[in-house]
Each structure stands twice: as C-alpha cells, then as structure tokens.
C-alpha cells in the first residue's frame, strides 16, 4: 500500500493505493489520525484501492467518528469498485459521505 497526502483548500486528502489489509492498516490508521489531530477536514481517496479488509474499514469508521466528535468534515472520494463492494457488505455505503470526486466535494461544500 502507498499513502499520498495532499493539502487542499481547507482540507487534507489522503489517498491509499493498492491493498489496504492487516499488514498495513495500522499505517493507514496513523496517517488518518495525524490529519484529524491537526484539526483538519479529511477526505480519503479510495480510487486506487485494489482491496480493503475489515481492519482498513475499521480505520475509516474510526476516522468518521473522530471527525464527528471534533466537528471536522469527513468524506470518501472516488471509491473503487473493490472498496465499494466491501463498504456495501459492511452497510457503510449509506453511512459515510461519499463523493465521486474532489470537485464534487468542493461544490457540495460551497
């Protein structure tokens, strides 16, 4: 898994690439919590995720809940088919705010 962090206007985007599984979900979790601890709105880009397991999904749930507690914005963008199929199994596709693209998020946010 690769992690790419990008600063946008008023938010940070973390992009995961490859397989987000038990071998690397602690790294994914840390990168997420770092952003939220810095009090920044968080977008997570799952477009290049080829696989995500329940430990990766757990980090997303934690991010969602932590952001809420801190009144920060949280959303997913460009969810890959593989990731979406897992979110659906977890019934989280209706819980998480999901945007097709960063542009869409910015428009909705404006």
């Amino acid at each position: 898994m690769n992690i790419n962090t990008l600063e946008g206007e008023g938010y940070t985007i973390i992009g995961f690439e490859g397989d987000v599984d038990l071998s690397c979900s602690p790294d994914a979790r840390k990168s997420i919590l770092d952003v939220l601890q810095a009090d920044k709105n968080l977008l997570i880009d799952l477009a290049k995720v080829s696989y995500i397991d329940s430990s990766g999904v757990a980090s997303l749930v934690e991010a969602y809940q932590t952001a809420k507690k801190q009144s920060l914005k949280f959303g997913l963008v460009g969810v890959s088919e593989a990731a979406m199929s897992v979110l659906k199994l977890a019934r989280l596709d209706k819980v998480f705010p999901i945007h097709n693209s960063v542009e869409e998020y910015e428009q909705e946010d404006a």
Binding site: D21, A58, R91
Partner: protein, 138 residues
C-alpha cells in the same frame, strides 16, 4: 462426482502472507468457473477468516501456522481453515450489531454474508481449531 481437492496451503500466521492467500483463492475460484464478483467475495471471506486466526486465535504470535484447504464438492466450494492455537471460546465468535457503529466486528459478518454455511470447532487433538465454510457455486 466426488470431493476434489483443489489445493492445501500452509503458511505462517503473518499479516504479510495474506496477499498470497488472496491471489491463490482468486485464481482457484476463477479456475473452477466462478465469475469475477463471486471470486472476489470468496477472497474476502477467506481473508477475514485468516485474519481472525492471526489476531484472535494466535493473538499475533506469528510462529503459528495456518492451513487452508480448498475443495470442490460437486459444485459446492469448501474452505477448511485450521490453526494450532489454544482452543478458542466458540461462543465469542460473533459479529457486532451493524447498527452499533464502531471500528471492528465486521469480519465474521462478512463471512456469514458471503458463505452459505459455516462450521467452527476444536481439533480433536486438544489443541487447534477449524473453520469450515461452504459456498454453492453451480
């Protein structure tokens, strides 16, 4: 037709090895005619089951070994996963309530959702556990 062994693989209970198991299950499911979507689902279930062995049965002790068998019983795929950890508390194996949103507690739900049948138990030798999952594919 009788039961056909597709493969049996043994690997150390390490998170880093799960990607191998996923590649193998995916390829094997396709080989026996599963569509891409079903193969992906089977991969998810097997991956979560192996994760649970690593995390909950061996509790992170990566000297442990996992054995995965994949069999084709006349159109029913059977996955048998064996560990040699201490016998687990079988009653504790259950998913969280999906409406109670919290990190974790999804793996067993994925497995139940994807597979037709699951059977868990202790090995007769006094050490070790098994999980048998079956899925009708044709």
């Amino acid at each position: 037709m009788s039961i056909e062994t597709l493969f049996e693989i043994r690997f150390p209970a390490k998170a880093e090895r799960l990607c191998l198991v996923r590649a193998l299950v995916k390829r094997t499911a396709e080989l026996v005619g599963c569509c891409s979507d079903l193969s992906d689902k089977l991969v998810i279930a097997v991956n979560e089951a192996c994760m649970n062995v690593i995390q909950h049965a061996y509790r992170g002790d990566d000297l442990g070994e996992i054995v995965l068998q994949m069999l084709n019983n006349d159109g029913k795929l059977r996955f048998r996963i064996v560990d040699y950890a201490n016998p687990i508390d079988l009653d504790s194996v259950k998913p969280r309530d999906l409406d109670d949103l919290r990190p974790g507690g999804l793996g067993t739900h994925f497995i139940d959702e994807i597979m037709d049948e699951c059977d868990r138990g202790h090995l007769e030798e006094g050490i070790g556990n098994y999980l048998e999952m079956t899925k009708k594919i044709s």
